[in-house]
C-alpha cells in the first residue's frame, strides 16, 4: 500500500538474545516488520515508545551490536501470496528454503537474512474485460504453471493445480481500465488496473502481500455438514471431522502424531494441503518431501507435492520464527480458500508454538500464567482455531479451511495448559494412547477419550453415500468399546474364563472391531487409505458379524467356537487383504459368515 513513503529507521542501543532495543527516527508501527543490519535479519516491533522501540528478531542475532541499523518496512509482518507457493517449501516467514534438484549438496544450510528471489513466471488467461466492474475477491484471471514448458523458468517441480488471480481483499471495488493479454507474466508485475469510485487507480499483480496476523475477510461463514474424508476408518466413521472443522491430536512422544498427520495429509480429500512443521524434526520433513514427490493423489492422479505447501521451522531453527509460522500457515491456507478451494492445514506441533510464545514472553518480562505460559495463551489458541471455517468467499465461491493441530503434552499429561485450552476450541479430539502405541496398534487413537461434535451433522452425508445404518453402527461400535474397557477391568480380577458367555462375546466382538476396523496400517499399500465405500462395506460386515454372533449365543454356541472359525481370521485380516473395489470378495465374506453361523448352530444342536 503506502509501504515506501515512510522509511523509519532506528539505531540499536541494547541487545540480548533475539530481542533488541533501538532509538527510532521516524514513525514505526506496533507489530511493524523490520530488517536488521546488513544481513537484513527479519524482525517485528513488539513494543513502541516515542524514544525507544523493542524488536523481536526472527533469526540468529550473532554479531549484532549497538549502532546496528533497524530499517522499517511501513507495514505489519506480512507475506507475499501468489501462485508460486504451491508445491514448495518455505520457512516460518514464507521465505523459500527449497533447493533445486542436484544442488542440495552445494547449499544445504539455512543462512540468516533476507535474500532477493527471482520472481517466477506464470501463464495467465484474463477473465475480465476493460470496463467490467469488479470488487474484492472477484476473479481477474486464471493462472497456470507449465502450460508451455519453455515458460517455466524456475526449472523446479511444477504445480498442476489451476489457480486464480483475485482482486486482493483490501482493494476497493472499481472498474477495469487495463487488463493484460493472455501470456506469461512475472509474479510481481501488475496485470490489471482498476479505477475506484473516487477515481483512485490500483494495480493488481498475480501476487500480493497480506499481514499474517489478520484473518482474510469472507462474505459469510457456512455450516459444516460435509465431511473432510481422511481415508482413516477410525476417523471417518467414529470421530469424523467436517470441512472447515478443527481437530486436536494430543499424544505423548512416540504415539504417532506425526505419522497420523502425514497420513491424513496424503490421503484426505482436500484440494490443497498446508503442512506446518513447527519445531519438529528435519528428517521427518525430508521424508515427507521425498514421499510426497513420489506418491500420487488418488483423486487427481497428480503428485501429492503439487497440492502441498510445506512451511518448515524445524526445532533447531530460530525459536521466534516458530511463533510466526503458525500464522503464516493459516494465512496461506486462507489465500487458497479464497479461490474456492478446500484446504486442510496441519500444524505439527502447536505445543512448540506455545513454547515459543512462552519463551518470547519470558524475555519481555511478562507475568507468567499457568505452566509459565503467558496469560494470553488461551486467546491466541482461540484466534488460531477460529480461522478454520467453511465459507462463502468475497467472490461468491465456496471454500474451506480445516485445521488439524498436534499437541505434545509434557509427560503425556493431558491436563497441561496447551492441551486443556485447545480442547475448548476444537470440534474433534483425537487423543492418542500410549498403551495402544506400545502394542503397535496404529492409529493409536483412544476411542473412549476421543470425540467429535460433528458426527450428528455428518450422518446425512453418509446416508446419501449409501451407508444408511451409519449412526446405528457407529453407536454400536462405540458402546462395544466402552463395554470392553469395563469388562477388561473385570477380567483382570476374576480371569477371562470365569466370565459369563455374553461378556466373553462382547470382548470377542470388541477385539474384532479393534483389529479389523480401527487398526489401519499407514504403510500397507492396500490399507493405508480406505474409500468411504470400502469403509461402509467393512462397517456393515462387522455389524452382521455382531448380530450373527449374538444369535449364536442365544443358540448356546460358546464364543470360543466362533473365534476358531476361519471366518473370524478372514474378517480380522480383511483390511490388509481385500483392496478397494474388490466388492465380490467382501460379499463372499458375507456369505461365508452366514454359512458359518448355520454350521455352528447345527453343530451345537447336534451335540445336544
Amino acid at each position: 500500500m503506502n509501504a515506501h513513503d515512510v522509511a523509519a529507521r532506528a539505531a540499536t542501543t541494547w541487545i540480548s538474545g533475539p530481542v533488541l532495543r533501538a532509538r527510532p527516527e521516524g514513525a514505526f508501527l506496533l507489530r511493524e516488520a523490520v530488517t536488521v543490519g546488513e544481513q537484513r535479519l527479519l524482525g517485528e516491533v513488539i513494543r513502541l515508545a516515542r524514544d525507544e522501540i523493542t524488536v523481536q528478531v526472527y533469526e540468529d542475532t550473532s554479531g549484532l551490536r549497538p549502532g546496528t541499523l533497524v530499517n522499517g518496512s511501513g507495514r505489519l509482518l506480512s507475506v507475499r501470496l501468489g501462485p508460486g507457493i504451491l508445491g514448495h517449501i518455505f520457512d516460518g516467514l514464507l521465505r523459500p528454503i527449497g533447493v533445486a534438484p542436484g544442488e542440495a549438496g552445494r547449499d544445504p544450510w539455512v543462512l540468516p537474512g533476507m535474500r532477493d528471489e527471482a520472481p517466477a513466471q506464470f501463464w495467465l488467461t484474463p477473465r475480465v474485460r476493460v470496463g467490467d466492474a469488479i470488487g474484492p475477491g472477484d476473479v481477474v484471471a486464471d493462472v497456470s504453471v507449465g502450460v508451455d514448458a519453455s515458460l517455466s523458468g524456475s526449472g523446479e517441480a511444477l504445480s498442476g493445480l489451476p489457480q486464480r488471480c483475485l482482486v486482493p481483499p483490501d482493494l476497493p471495488a472499481g472498474q477495469v481500465i487495463e487488463i493484460a493479454a493472455a501470456g506469461s507474466y512475472r509474479e510481481d508485475q501488475p496485470i490489471c488496473r482498476v479505477r475506484d469510485a473516487q477515481g483512485g487507480e490500483h494495480g493488481i499483480a498475480l501476487s500480493h502481500r497480506w499481514p499474517v496476523r489478520i484473518p482474510r475477510p469472507v462474505a459469510q461463514r457456512l455450516p459444516s455438514d460435509e465431511p473432510m474424508l481422511t481415508g482413516q476408518r477410525i476417523l471417518d466413521c467414529l470421530f469424523p471431522i467436517a470441512r472447515g472443522g478443527t481437530a486436536a491430536i494430543p499424544g505423548g512422544f512416540g504415539t504417532g502424531k506425526t505419522v497420523l498427520l502425514e497420513t491424513v495429509a496424503k490421503w484426505c480429500d482436500a484440494d490443497v494441503i498446508v503442512y506446518v512443521g513447527c519445531g519438529e524434526r528435519g528428517n521427518e520433513l525430508a521424508g515427507l518431501l521425498a514421499e510426497f514427490g513420489e506418491l500420487e493423489d488418488p483423486r487427481s492422479g497428480r503428485l501429492l507435492l503439487e497440492r502441498t505447501v510445506v512451511i518448515a521451522n524445524t526445532s533447531n531453527m530460530p525459536v521466534s520464527a516458530r511463533e510466526a509460522s503458525i500464522y503464516t500457515g493459516i494465512t496461506v491456507a486462507e489465500y487458497f480458500r479464497d479461490q474456492g478451494l478446500n484446504v486442510t492445514l496441519m500444524a505439527d506441533s502447536t505445543s512448540r508454538w506455545a513454547e515459543a510464545l512462552r519463551e518470547v514472553s519470558g524475555r519481555l518480562g511478562e507475568l507468567p500464567g499457568e505452566g509459565g505460559y503467558p496469560a494470553y495463551l488461551s486467546s491466541r489458541l482461540a484466534d488460531f482455531y477460529e480461522r478454520a471455517a467453511r465459507v462463502r468467499t468475497l467472490g461468491g465461491a465456496n471454500g474451506s479451511v480445516s485445521v488439524l493441530g498436534a499437541v505434545s503434552p509434557p509427560s503425556g499429561d493431558f491436563s497441561e495448559p496447551v492441551t486443556n485450552h485447545t480442547r475448548r476450541y476444537v470440534g474433534c479430539l483425537w487423543a492418542l494412547d500410549v498403551r495402544r502405541a506400545q502394542a503397535r496398534f496404529y492409529p493409536a487413537i483412544q476411542p473412549l477419550t476421543s470425540y467429535s461434535v460433528s458426527a450428528a451433522s455428518l450422518a446425512r452425508w453418509w446416508h446419501s453415500a449409501g451407508c444408511t445404518r451409519w449412526e446405528a453402527l457407529r453407536r454400536r461400535f462405540l458402546t462395544l468399546l466402552e463395554d470392553e474397557a469395563r469388562l477388561e477391568r473385570m477380567a483382570r480380577i476374576i480371569g477371562r474364563d470365569a466370565m459369563p458367555a455374553r461378556q466373553r462375546l462382547i470382548l470377542l466382538c470388541a477385539q474384532l472391531v479393534n483389529q479389523a476396523f480401527l487398526r489401519q496400517s499407514a504403510f500397507s499399500d492396500i490399507d493405508r487409505y480406505a474409500t468411504p465405500q470400502r469403509q461402509a462395506v467393512m462397517m456393515r460386515l462387522l455389524g452382521s458379524f455382531i448380530e450373527a454372533a449374538e444369535g449364536l449365543l442365544e443358540a448356546n454356541v460358546p464364543p470360543e467356537r466362533i473365534a476358531e472359525a476361519p471366518i473370524f481370521r478372514a474378517l480380522m485380516r480383511m483390511g490388509e487383504e481385500i483392496p478397494d473395489g474388490d466388492w465380490e470378495r467382501f460379499s463372499e465374506l458375507d456369505r461365508e459368515l452366514t454359512a458359518t453361523a448355520r454350521r455352528l448352530r447345527e453343530e451345537v444342536s447336534g451335540d445336544e
Binding site: 542501543t13 541494547w14 541487545i15 540480548s16 542475532t61 550473532s62 554479531g63 549497538p66 528454503i97 527449497g98 533447493v99 542440495a104 549438496g105 552445494r106 547449499d107 544445504p108 544450510w109 539455512v110 505423548g252 512422544f253 512416540g254 506425526t258 519445531g279 524434526r281 528435519g282 528428517n283 521427518e284 520433513l285 525430508a286 521424508g287 518431501l289 521425498a290 514421499e291 518448515a312 524445524t314 526445532s315 533447531n316 525459536v319 513454547e355 512462552r358 519463551e359 519470558g362 509434557p410 509427560s411 503425556g412 499429561d413 506400545q438 502394542a439 503397535r440 477380567a491 483382570r492 476374576i494 480371569g495 477371562r496 474364563d497 470365569a498 504403510f523 473365534a563 481370521r569 485380516r573
Partner: protein, 458 residues
C-alpha cells in the same frame, strides 16, 4: 588466525558467571572472548548482551579467582570456532576442543562455528540405510538407520556404556565386511574418569581406536564447558561426514549432565525456570544438538547419533527424557528388572521405538517379511505382558489356554530373542523371532499374512 582485539583493565564487575566490561571495542553479540587472569591462565567466555556502555560476558569457566584490576580480555571478533583438519581421528580432546593426548596441535584445514547451522529440510536425504548394530532388540524390533538419532534411555548402574561400546564396535551395513569409511565420535559430557577410561580401553581392544575421536569433559571439569562439549564433537562429526565423506556415529554421554549444566547456567543468569527448574528453552537447546544428525543429498557421508541419558529416578516422564523423546527419532529404553535377571541387553521393548524403522526395513532393505514379523512380535509381547499382570492376580491356573501360550511366549521371547550372548546379523535375529512365534495359535497371528505363516511357521 583471528582478528583479535584486546582490552586491558576494562572489567567493572563480576556477578556469578557474568563479567561486565566497559565497551571499549566494537564487538558483536555471541562472539567469543578470552579472559587472561593474573597468573597467566586463560578462561573462555561469550558475549551475552550489549548496550552502549557495557559488554556482558558469560564465562564458560569458573569465575572464582578473577579480579578486575589488570585483567586482560581478548575479543575473537566472531563466535566460537573449532579448527578441524584431516588428522582428527585417533585424537583425544578436552571439552572445548584442545588436544589432551600430548600430541601436536591439529593441522587445521577449516575453521567451523561450533554452533553449526540448521540444515534445510529439502537438502536432507531421508535416512533409509539400515545400520546393523548386532542387537536383535534394535535390529529386529527397532531398526536404526544412518542419519538417525536414537537415544538410549538408561538409569544409574545400567550397562549403557557397554551397549554403546558394542554398537560402536559392531555397527555395519548388512553384507558389508569392513572397508566402509566409518568413524566414531565419542563425547563424554561430565562423565566420571572410569567411564572415559572404560570406553577408551574397549575401543583399543577392538582395534577401533584409530577411527575414533574422543572429547572428554570429565565430571570434575567446569559445568559451563559441558554446554560446549557436544557442540565441538558434532562440529568434528559434521566435518568428517560432509567434507570427508565418512559415516560418523556420534555417541554422546551423558546428556543428563548436559541438562544439569544448562539448569545451573540458566539459574545463575536469573532466568524464569520452567518444569523442575530447567529453563523453558531446554527443548530448543537440545534440538540444536540432536538435529545435527542426518544426511545431505549429493554428499556421501552421514551423522548418526546415539545419545545416552540416565533418567533421574528411572522416570521417563522427567523433563530430560521427555523433551529428548520429542526431538529424537525414537528411543531405546533400558530396564532395571531385566538387568537384574541378567538379560543382556536389558531393553524394555514396549516403550522403545525407532521412528525411522519403516524407512529402513522391508523388501530390498532387510527382508520383505521383517516389518510384519516385528509388528507381530510387538503385538504378541504386549499381549504377553498383559497376561503376566493378569496371572499375578488370578494365578496361572485361572488363565485360559490361549493366555497360557502367551505367557510361555513372553518367557521364550525374552530368553531367546531379546537376550543374546553374541552379535547377531539380521537374518539370525529374524530366525530367532520366527522360532519364538511358534507355539502361538495361528488365529492369534493377525499381523501376518497366510503366506508368511506358511513360509516361516509351517
Amino acid at each position: 588466525m583471528y582478528a583479535r582485539l584486546t582490552g586491558e583493565d576494562i572489567a567493572n564487575r563480576v556477578d556469578g558467571p557474568l563479567l561486565f566490561l566497559r565497551r571499549s571495542v566494537d564487538v558483536g553479540l555471541n562472539e567469543a572472548v578470552e579472559v587472561e587472569t593474573a597468573d597467566g591462565g586463560v578462561r573462555l567466555g561469550r558475549i551475552a548482551a550489549l548496550d552502549q556502555e557495557t559488554v556482558t560476558v558469560e564465562m564458560l569457566d569458573d569465575t572464582a579467582g578473577l579480579r578486575l584490576q589488570g585483567t586482560r580480555v581478548r575479543f575473537f571478533g566472531e563466535p566460537l570456532r573449532f579448527d578441524v583438519g584431516p588428522g582428527l581421528l585417533g585424537r583425544v580432546f578436552n571439552g572445548v576442543g584442545k588436544p589432551i593426548d600430548g600430541g601436536p596441535p591439529l593441522a587445521a584445514e577449516r575453521s567451523l562455528r561450533v554452533d553449526g547451522l540448521p540444515m534445510k529440510p529439502s537438502a536432507r536425504e531421508a535416512p533409509s540405510e539400515f545400520l546393523e548394530t548386532g542387537f536383535s532388540a534394535i535390529d529386529l524390533m527397532n531398526s536404526l538407520v544412518r542419519g538417525q538419532k536414537l537415544p538410549l534411555f538408561s538409569g544409574g548402574g545400567l550397562p549403557h556404556d557397554r551397549i554403546a561400546v558394542d554398537i560402536a564396535c559392531n555397527a555395519r551395513l548388512p553384507g558389508a565386511r569392513g572397508g566402509e569409511d566409518f568413524a566414531i565420535v565419542f563425547a563424554g559430557i561430565g562423565i566420571p574418569h572410569a567411564s572415559a577410561e572404560f570406553f577408551r580401553e574397549e575401543m583399543e581392544k577392538s582395534g577401533a581406536l584409530a577411527r575414533t575421536l574422543l572429547f572428554l569433559n570429565l565430571a570434575s571439569d567446569s559445568s559451563a564447558q559441558r554446554l560446549l562439549t557436544p557442540r565441538f564433537a558434532l562440529t568434528a562429526a559434521e566435518y568428517m561426514a560432509f567434507e570427508q565423506g565418512k559415516h560418523v556415529l556420534v555417541i554422546l554421554t551423558d546428556l543428563t549432565n548436559y541438562c544439569e549444566a544448562l539448569r545451573e547456567v540458566s539459574a545463575s543468569r536469573g532466568e524464569v525456570p520452567s518444569r523442575k527448574g530447567y529453563p523453558g528453552y531446554m527443548y530448543s537447546d537440545l534440538a540444536t544438538l540432536y538435529e545435527r544428525a542426518g544426511r545431505i543429498r549429493g554428499r556421501p557421508g552421514s551423522v548418526t547419533q546415539v545419545p545416552i541419558l540416565t533418567m533421574p529416578n528411572d522416570d521417563i516422564t522427567h523433563p530430560i527424557p521427555d523433551l529428548t523423546g520429542y526431538i529424537t527419532e525414537g528411543q531405546i529404553v533400558l530396564d532395571r528388572e531385566l538387568h537384574r535377571r541378567d538379560l543382556y541387553p536389558p531393553v524394555r521393548l514396549l516403550p522403545s521405538l525407532s521412528r525411522l524403522m519403516k524407512d529402513g526395513t522391508g523388501a530390498g532393505l532387510t527382508h520383505a517379511d521383517h516389518p510384519a514379523l516385528a509388528a507381530q512380535l510387538y503385538a504378541a509381547y504386549a499381549q504377553a505382558q498383559q497376561t503376566r499382570i493378569l496371572a499375578s492376580v488370578v494365578g496361572e491356573e485361572g488363565l485360559s489356554e490361549t493366555d497360557r501360550t502367551y505367557l510361555a511366549f513372553g518367557g521364550r521371547f525374552e530368553q531367546d530373542v531379546l537376550a543374546q550372548p553374541d552379535r547377531r546379523d539380521i537374518e539370525q535375529s529374524m530366525d530367532a523371532g520366527w522360532r519364538a512365534l511358534r507355539g502361538l495359535p495361528r488365529n492369534e497371528l493377525t499381523r501376518l499374512s497366510d503366506a508368511q505363516i506358511e513360509s516361516h511357521l509351517a
